[in-house]
């Protein structure tokens, strides 16, 4: 599992007992960020009426996220557009950069996805309380449920609400890690079976690489759309 190892690059930085050194994980975050900036920079450099290819890409991305937000969270979620856009594009680029050989997949680390998920969870909860006050607790009391079942349902709802950050983070992390591990295993088979038997796992490897690219996109999309759904719960309380 060498590909998931984090190691320090450059000097050791320690602030109040925490080791905050620049690592290869940070390096690949920076690389992803630079790639995003380059795409958006070239995508918005020209203001052509008939867009160039790269301009079209940024506009398609914009329209894609815009449609996703308006479909799932409605018009009230407009102020959070930039956040969802950044989230989607950052996770997408981290996943895609991770697909390159010898690179590091930032999102295959639970701490990264958990940071995102906890931030979203706390943010959405605060937002819900700011907008609806204590009525936001109604989210745990679905309407139209018989009184007898209400305590059980409420408990289930509370558990499901609290497990949101875990499910959100583990989904992305496990998908990325499992995909890369599988690629690694099949790659190992290719080497060990040699030139005679290695073709079958190699074929699998190629197919899996395609699948992994799909998963990389899909998981970024799922992460973004779940964020939208949580935002929708906080913005439009209709349970």
């Amino acid at each position: 599992m060498h590909q998931f190892k984090v190691h320090r690059i450059g000097p050791e930085i320690e602030i109040s007992g925490f080791d905050l050194s620049f690592t290869n994980s940070s390096l690949f975050m920076v690389i992803s960020a630079i790639l995003i900036m380059l795409l958006l920079l070239f995508g918005t450099r020209e203001k052509r009426l008939i867009p160039s290819k790269i301009q079209l890409m940024s506009e398609i991305l914009y329209n894609f996220i815009s449609k996703m937000i308006s479909d799932t969270a409605g018009k009230k979620a407009k102020p959070y557009f930039s956040f969802v856009f950044s989230l989607f594009i950052f996770i997408l680029f981290c996943n895609m950069v991770g697909m390159l050989p010898y690179s590091f997949t930032v999102t295959s680390h639970i701490i990264v996805t958990l940071t995102f998920a906890i931030f979203i969870f706390i943010g959405v909860t605060i937002l819900g309380f700011i907008i609806h006050g204590f009525k936001y607790l109604k989210i745990f009391v679905p309407s139209g449920v018989p009184m007898v079942l209400l305590p059980i349902i409420s408990i289930i709802e509370i558990i499901s609400y609290l497990s949101r950050p875990i499910s959100l983070s583990v989904r992305l992390f496990a998908n990325m890690m499992a995909g890369h591990t599988m690629l690694k295993v099949f790659g190992g088979f290719v080497i060990s079976l040699g030139i005679i038997g290695g073709w079958l796992p190699l074929t699998f490897s190629v197919a899996l690489t395609g699948l992994e690219i799909l998963v990389a996109f899909l998981q970024a999309y799922v992460f973004a759309i779940l964020t939208c759904i949580y935002l929708n719960d906080a913005l439009n309380l209709h349970h």
């Binding site: 599992m1 060498h2 998931f4 190892k5 984090v6 320090r8 925490f18 080791d19 905050l20 050194s21 620049f22 690592t23 994980s25 940070s26 975050m29 920076v30 960020a33 995003i36 900036m37 958006l40 920079l41 995508g43 918005t44 203001k47 009426l49 867009p51 301009q55 940024s58 506009e59 914009y62 329209n63 557009f81 930039s82 956040f83 856009f85 950044s86 594009i89 950052f90 930032v106 295959s108 680390h109 639970i110 701490i111 990264v112 940071t115 995102f116 992390f173 890690m177 295993v185 190992g188 088979f189 060990s192 079976l193 038997g197």
Partner: protein, 190 residues
């Protein structure tokens, strides 16, 4: 087939040994958790701020400009089309009136031409009639004159003949009456 299976099993063990050497999940090692979270927050915040303040307004502006331009162009095109349709109607009307007028002019001019031709014809006919009449008159006059002359000559000849035969002048009035009578008879015959 059996060989392949054996190779597969052996290789699996071999690979298992390779993986065993680096077993364990580095993800669960908390040594660099703080660092990863820290750098993630810094880098993601930077991206978020840049996207929110710079890129999203730019892309949005671009898309809005295009939509406005398209809407404006469509509206303009609509106005132009309406104008064109109006002009077409006016043009058609113009053509209609023009064709009517031209028909009228053609019919008028042909009528006038006919009238003119008729007038000229009449005039010429009148003139011809007049000339004919005068010619006839002249002919009549000539005829009369010639008759008169013939009468006189006949009278003279008769007088001369009578003189030659009888040796004396005949009754002049009687001769002229007889000659006239004969001439009249001849004239009727002619």
């Amino acid at each position: 087939m059996k060989k392949l299976t054996i190779v597969l099993i052996i290789s699996t063990f071999y690979c298992g040994n390779i993986f065993a050497a680096e077993a364990g999940m580095p993800q669960l090692d908390p040594k660099y958790w703080a660092s990863q979270a820290f750098w993630l927050i810094i880098i993601f915040s930077t991206i978020y701020l840049l996207i929110d303040k710079v890129f999203i307004p730019k892309i949005k502006g671009n898309i809005d400009t295009r939509e406005n331009k398209i809407r404006k162009d469509l509206e303009e095109a609509k106005i132009f089309r309406e104008e064109a349709e109006k002009k077409l109607i006016i043009y058609k009307k113009l053509i209609q009136t023009a064709s009517q007028e031209s028909k009228k002019i053609v019919s008028d001019s042909s009528q006038k031409l006919n009238e003119d031709i008729q007038n000229k014809k009449n005039e010429i006919q009148n003139q011809i009639d007049k000339e004919l009449k005068s010619a006839e008159n002249e002919i009549m006059k000539f005829k009369k004159d010639s008759f008169d002359k013939v009468g006189k000559i006949s009278e003279d000849i008769v007088t001369e003949v009578i003189k030659d035969i009888f040796g004396e002048d005949g009754n002049k009035s009687k001769i002229s009456a007889t000659v006239n009578e004969i001439l009249k008879k001849e004239n009727v015959k002619v």
